[in-house]
């Protein structure tokens, strides 16, 4: 269909731009601190690349589009980026429904899309995993998908059991696709390890009253809650827990909790909560690039609006994604997706990049999760690019797992 593009009034789609500058389209929820962090690191990456001569001597620039976390908005922004701005690559997207909503259009146009925020495995299995040729423009450089995260979670739970003797847990999750793997595999896995799953609830993402949930947790007598919240903001949950001085642990993933000033924002209610986050929240050197990057971010944005301490997980991934793309283009010698998408794909799949969130490699065409970020395993086969941070007293953020990155030991909640 794109061959008709030049022949009809109004023209067709973008068709890319075989001559520079190389334009990166960045899609994120820009009214969310997470999106703000991602926008800033995208700018940082592009500025750095420009300072070092651009990509293949071509200028690089980035255009930001606000998805507002809304699939319909994201669809029209994606169209705008491709048709009006003629971007050569798209980077970003946070919630999986946004990622999946733009997937068909972007695949149709053949623009490379590098996802840096959403973790649902179905984004891979239902698209590129189902029809490789149609969706081979898709890549995910981070975070590792929730199936891997679930596996890593089980190992973390073992670690908690070793430390504190915890063996009874309550599972709470967003009622959303990215949590499906957790809900499907964790109960069985925990059972296998001999733990007791005292409570298992999927919560409506529009929940506003957490009291019944807290009461259920208290009644279940669980040692810790393992919660997976990206849509749900659990701040009221933490506030009530703090006010009632409850001592169950809070583990898992909580995107809102990744805000660098979160302990302060919740007036200390977030103390002892942990969350996994790509990049480790700037507490530790996941790779040798991590801390210098966080330092540079802090310096540049010290006087800006939050997030100030570090850009939150998507920011780490976006920064890496842009650098991965740069290297791939230089390796393959092309960014012209309209004529040589396969060349770009081949180059991308050769990625072995030391990023700020971890060592980045991508699965190949025949893997279970084609073009998805590979999980890093240590010598014992445990997944290690799944750092977990904990808010410790006085607002200190520490990395508590895995051991090779930990800066402090995980603390049991007390009041």
């Amino acid at each position: 269909m794109s061959t008709l593009a030049g022949c009809v009034p109004g023209g067709g789609g973008g068709g890319g731009d075989a001559e520079g500058p190389i334009t990166i389209g960045h899609l994120a929820p820009l009214q969310n601190p997470l999106g703000v962090g991602s926008k800033r690191t995208a700018n940082m990456a592009v500025d750095q690349i420009s300072e070092n001569g651009g990509i293949m001597d071509e200028e690089v620039d980035v255009i930001h589009a606000d998805t507002e976390g809304n699939p319909g908005t994201a669809e029209s922004e994606a169209e705008r980026l491709v048709i009006e701005e003629e971007v050569d690559v798209m980077v970003g997207t946070f919630v999986s429904e946004v990622t999946q909503a733009i997937m068909d259009f972007v695949a149709q146009e053949g623009v490379p899309l590098i996802v840096t925020g959403s973790a649902a495995p179905s984004t891979v299995t239902e698209f590129i995993g189902d029809d490789y040729d149609q969706y081979k423009n898709f890549f995910r450089t981070g975070p590792i998908n929730s199936n891997f995260q679930a596996e890593a979670m089980v190992n973390y739970v073992n670690h908690l059991n070793e430390l504190h003797g915890w063996d009874s847990f309550a599972l709470l999750a967003d009622d959303a696709a990215w949590c499906q793997p957790f809900v499907d595999t964790l109960p069985g896995a925990l059972d296998e390890e001999g733990y007791d799953l005292a409570l298992n609830q999927s919560l409506n993402i529009n929940i506003d009253d957490f009291s019944p949930v807290i009461n259920d947790v208290v009644e279940s007598d669980a040692d810790a809650v393992i919660r997976f919240f990206a849509h749900i903001n659990a701040s009221p949950f933490l506030v009530e827990r703090a006010q009632r001085e409850l001592t169950f642990g809070i583990e898992g993933i909580h995107v809102t909790g990744m805000h660098p000033a979160y302990a302060q924002l919740t007036e200390g209610a977030a103390t002892y909560e942990t969350t996994s986050q790509s990049g480790g929240g700037g507490t530790t050197d996941i790779t040798e690039e991590t801390l210098p990057f966080v330092e540079a971010y802090r310096e540049r944005f010290a006087d800006s609006d939050p997030p100030v301490g570090h850009p939150m997980y998507m920011g780490f991934n976006t920064y890496d994604a842009i650098n991965v793309y740069k290297e791939a283009v230089e390796r393959g010698g092309t960014w012209d997706y309209a004529n040589d998408l396969d060349g770009i794909v081949e180059a991308m799949l050769e990625t072995d990049h030391t990023g700020v969130a971890g060592q980045i490699q991508l699965y190949g065409q025949d893997a279970e999760y084609p073009h998805d970020a590979m999980e890093t395993r240590d010598d014992e086969g445990t997944i290690s690019n799944f750092p977990i941070t904990q808010w410790q007293p006085q607002g200190a953020l520490e990395c508590v797992y895995p051991e090779q990155h930990a800066t402090a030991e995980h603390m049991e909640p007390t009041w």
């Binding site: 929820p29 009214q31 969310n32 601190p33 703000v36 507002e68 976390g69 919560l203 409506n204 929940i207 506003d208 009253d209 009291s211 019944p212 949930v213 009461n215 208290v218 009644e219 903001n233 701040s235 009221p236 506030v239 009530e240 703090a242 006010q243 009632r244 001085e245 809102t256 805000h259 924002l265 919740t266 007036e267 209610a269 609006d305």
Partner: protein
């Protein structure tokens, strides 16, 4: 399950007072001017965010320098500000369109949507939480009878709500200006004929309703959180309560608020969160078809 019953009852009783407060403001405006103020939820939102602005320095707006006032100062100030905002809403927009209920309906919801954008612009889409009662003042939980772990802020909200309702009752029954409001809501023409300045009454009603919304908003934000979309749910709740209780009837709003409060808490606890909203909606539909004038009100028939 039954061991949870006292806790459920107490929590329901506490939250219903807040619901009543929210509904009363809505019903007063509906009763006096025949105006469905769909921006009522936005005023609640304003209460929460204005309080945040005054008591915390996490949001920055132009011109206004960040301050962290003590809650005892920030709270009344926030309430006054929201009351003024409500009055301005009437004076600047509504009074020019109130002759046409449909246009007013639409104008107020557009105001609510515009308010969301303002909040989004200055406070972002992030959720803001705040504790109303500083640690030093009161313990954060209270034990009531067999139930312990009741949040103090919920109890304070309950007390403040009832005090406000009480003060309101005194105002509309014992004072001339308050009685004028009540008279106008019963029959506008009749009130005019007895020399009531209907316009002044309306302005006053919006001011009072705004104050109630301000109080409700601060407590709502404290017990749940402040988000840019927090206005839709309390608005629909207020609408449901007012219809069930009867237009313009303060008594009706209180009774209906307790009905809904207990229903929602009970359903949420025993049937799960997903059904909480649905059952209230079903009750509303039933009431609308069976008892359109509500429990205590007259049918909507504004002259």
């Amino acid at each position: 399950m039954l061991s949870g019953l006292p806790a459920v009852l107490i929590n329901a009783a506490l939250i219903s007072a807040l619901y009543a407060l929210i509904a009363i403001g809505f019903t007063m405006i509906f009763g006096v001017g025949g105006v469905l103020n769909l921006a009522h939820g936005a005023l609640l939102m304003a209460g929460a965010y204005v309080y945040l602005l005054l008591a915390r320095d996490t949001i920055s707006v132009p011109v206004f320098e960040s301050m962290t006032l003590h809650p005892l100062l920030a709270f009344p100030l926030a309430v006054v500000i929201v009351a003024v905002l409500s009055y301005l809403l009437y004076a600047v927009i509504v009074q020019f369109v109130e002759d046409n209920p449909v246009v007013t309906f639409l104008a107020t919801i557009v105001v609510a949507l515009a308010a969301t954008e303002v909040v989004l612009h200055y406070a972002g889409s992030a959720t803001h939480t705040y504790t109303l009662i500083p640690d030093g003042m009161l313990p954060s939980t209270i034990d009531i009878g067999p139930v312990d772990g009741i949040l103090t802020v919920d109890v304070v909200g309950f007390v403040v709500s009832w005090i406000s309702i009480g003060l309101l009752w005194v105002y509309v029954t014992k004072t001339d200006s308050g009685r004028a409001i009540r008279a106008t809501s019963m029959t506008e023409r009749g009130a005019q004929l007895t020399g009531v300045n209907v316009h002044a009454v309306r302005a006053r009603t919006w001011l009072v309703a705004g104050a109630l919304a301000g109080i409700g908003g601060v407590f709502l934000g404290a017990s749940t959180s402040a988000t840019p979309n927090m206005w839709l749910h309390p608005l629909s709740l207020a609408f449901i309560i007012v219809v069930i209780g009867g237009i313009g009837s303060i008594k009706g709003s209180i009774v209906a608020a307790y009905l809904i409060g207990f229903l929602q808490t009970g359903v949420g606890e025993y049937l799960g969160q997903n059904f909480r909203g649905i059952l209230s909606l079903v009750l509303l539909v039933i009431v609308l078809f069976v008892l359109p004038q509500g429990l205590f009100g007259r049918e909507f028939d504004h002259e």
